[in-house]
């Protein structure tokens, strides 16, 4: 086969299915998303996959590429090819809808389960909160807030794979941001949400989430923060 062709293997089906092989012409500036798009348009219109912005902002195009979860629009094929070969699968740890598209409902249910949302108490009649960006708690919240819920970390995490109830790195990272937001009126509620069996205690600091996050967030650090604060709260008796 000429060196200008890529050998691409793609998962077809749902939980049951098979890998199918395709040959795709290699280009100079080619991402994995380009490869998948070429296959769907020119070779096999029955291929299902998901994307939106295609410029690395939305996180919709996340898939497993040669064993690693990545944003396919930001993955140049030269970075992942192994002997001209690439295997593309749907994200791990999520139910497969079809081919490369997964169901993110469980991911978002866990997001809510970790109380990954803001709960404030001020009304439009109250004054604004004044929060200095440099304050340690705000800095901690800001460091964790950029998550766009792409589920790459969730897919990379082995504890998510091993424990059905584990909330996962993204949800816990968001919980840490909520906890550190001083405008939130129930930080203890966050700790209660992450103190359960599937909470922060289950993280073993593998740091696969840190290794794979496309936005360079650090869920392990956030979870360590939750562990620290939960430990203190538990010892004080607030969490029994």
């Amino acid at each position: 086969m000429p060196a200008s062709m890529l050998k691409v293997q793609i998962w077809r089906g749902e939980a049951q299915g098979e890998f199918r092989d395709y040959e795709v012409p290699r280009q100079d500036s080619q991402t994995i998303l380009d490869v998948v798009t070429y296959i769907q348009r020119k070779l096999d219109p029955t291929l299902s996959y998901r994307f939106a912005c295609r410029v690395g902002m939305c996180g919709s195009c996340a898939m497993t590429v040669n064993g690693r979860p990545r944003w396919t629009c930001r993955t140049h094929i030269s970075r992942v090819l192994e002997d001209g070969f690439v295997r593309i699968e749907p994200l791990r740890n999520l139910p497969i809808i079809k081919d490369l598209a997964t169901d993110l409902v469980p991911f978002f249910e866990k997001w809510q389960g970790a109380r990954g949302r803001f709960e404030g108490s001020r009304t439009r009649d109250d004054d604004f909160s004044t929060v200095l960006p440099s304050e340690p708690r705000r800095a901690a919240a800001s460091a964790a807030i950029e998550c766009i819920n792409c589920a790459v970390c969730y897919s990379a995490c082995d504890v998510v794979n091993w424990r059905e109830e584990y909330l996962g790195p993204a949800a816990l990272n968001r919980a840490w941001a909520a906890y550190n937001d001083e405008r939130d009126n129930n930080p203890l509620g966050v700790l209660k949400a992450v103190a359960a069996g599937g909470g922060c205690g289950s993280c073993h600091a593998h740091q696969s989430c840190v290794e794979h996050c496309p936005v360079e967030l650090n869920p392990t650090e956030s979870i360590a923060g939750l562990k620290r604060v939960s430990l203190q709260a538990w010892l004080k008796g607030d969490l029994r």
């Binding site: 050998k7 064993g67 979860p69 002997d83 070969f85 082995d158 593998h206 392990t220 620290r228």
Partner: protein, 121 residues
């Protein structure tokens, strides 16, 4: 098309995950070893001679190898555990990969120190 050129576990191929595996495997080994350890020491209930009998058994080379593995497991498990306590209780440091290397090194060194002493070196 063969998929053997890469592992299904490519996402785990980094030091922090390997450190976890060492920590967990050494921990399980220690948990299984402890009852044996206590039963051996408990022989002293029957007098020092009974304990000496068991200790003489442990002077066999294969058992000595096992002893070295257990002591190494303890040292590695402790160093890995200390690293985890630092990660969780102290502020994050970008030196973490170095910590993995340092704690592993100390764990291995302690194991070797035991081995050398056991071998009379």
């Amino acid at each position: 098309m063969s998929a053997t050129i890469f592992q299904r576990a490519a996402h785990r191929s980094h030091p922090a995950y390997w450190a976890f595996v060492v920590h967990r495997v050494s921990g399980v080994a220690l948990a299984l070893f402890l009852p044996l350890h206590f039963l051996t020491l408990g022989l002293a209930l029957n007098g020092a001679a009974a304990l000496d009998g068991a200790l003489a058994w442990t002077s066999q080379p294969l058992v000595k190898l096992g002893e070295w593995l257990v002591v190494s497991a303890l040292a590695l498990h402790m160093m890995g555990g200390l690293r985890l306590l630092f990660v969780e209780l102290l502020a994050w440091s970008d030196q973490q990969r170095n910590w993995i290397a340092v704690t592993s090194g100390i764990g291995i060194a302690v194991g070797l120190l035991f081995a050398f002493n056991a071998l009379g070196m």
